[in-house]
Symmetry: C2
Subunit: 209 residues, 2 copies
Amino acid sequence: MVTKPISPRTMGRLPIYYRYLEDLQRLGVERISSDQLAQRIGITGSQLRQDLSAFGQFGHHGLGYHVGPLLERVSELLGLKQPHRLVLVGAGNLGRAVASYAGFARRGVRIGRIFDVDPQLIGTEIAGVPVAPMRDLGAYLASEHIDVGIIATPAASAQETADILVAGGVRAIWNFAPLRLTVPDRVLVEHTHIIDSLLHLSLRLHMQE
Amino acid sequence: MVTKPISPRTMGRLPIYYRYLEDLQRLGVERISSDQLAQRIGITGSQLRQDLSAFGQFGHHGLGYHVGPLLERVSELLGLKQPHRLVLVGAGNLGRAVASYAGFARRGVRIGRIFDVDPQLIGTEIAGVPVAPMRDLGAYLASEHIDVGIIATPAASAQETADILVAGGVRAIWNFAPLRLTVPDRVLVEHTHIIDSLLHLSLRLHMQE
């Protein structure tokens, strides 16, 4: 497959393509017109053609595009084809919600183990994943190859948890705790903070008044 | 207080100011230098002075800015000074995590009631908020003035829930369900989708390889 180099702008649109195409596939739609695709992604027809030529070849302008192969290619570009190995720290409500998230398995995401300090939880399973004591996290990371550590602890334990994850060699931390983490530059941090959405919503409501 | 009209760009930076100033206040910092503030917000000194003059008057360039009053003003501009009244639909793991979120009370956010279909949960309390049967949601909305409905149901019930919330007069929906909702233009929708963060993280890891 001959492809052009992909621009940062096109890269930035990949998650939007992914989610839209996945919705279409779930609804059984096999083809999508270029007009509708461009409109949903929020770009012009000419930008769409540039994106698609960077992805490869997925149908003809007039006939529309094949949803399945296009979704496969976008997944590949997003790095979803190499399964990620994760650990989750924190088995409270948020941790349980993350562990139970149905969309992970389908996307090659596997949480290997959950760690917590609560003796009541240790030895149980959440969504089929065993909960181990927090003190075993370091040894687990030393023996398994883990890409990503998910932090769903209270803010007060988040930095300490990040330090253990970093020492254990994770490449990225996905942080749900409401705290800015300090980690070496080589470690990626993705924040998912409930409060950011609330601030946006409040601002949008306020501006409407 | 004489203020200039606030540009959309400055508006868009308000959540960043808010989170940084709030962190500072929690750490007991009373003053912040203009250089450090500009650097953390990710803008130039001249943009910072423009922002600050739009907010009002909060200290002098040479002496730094007062964290407390500046945070108050940013909160006011974000609409956090008028308390929002919310209902939460869905008392599963994610719903429980949202209801238990400690940052809400501090920010004037009050969840009035939680609704669920599970008879085991009805009549219980989560973080002090009573759980009521889903069939009572419409009547509750008709009798209370609710601004925002939070949807933390499975995807399959999300649209139906949104329809009830819209009919009940909410101005905004905060949607945690992995589904794009169809609502009238007048109703704001804020999406918080775990999967978006995962896609970003996967993309960033992949680009690093």
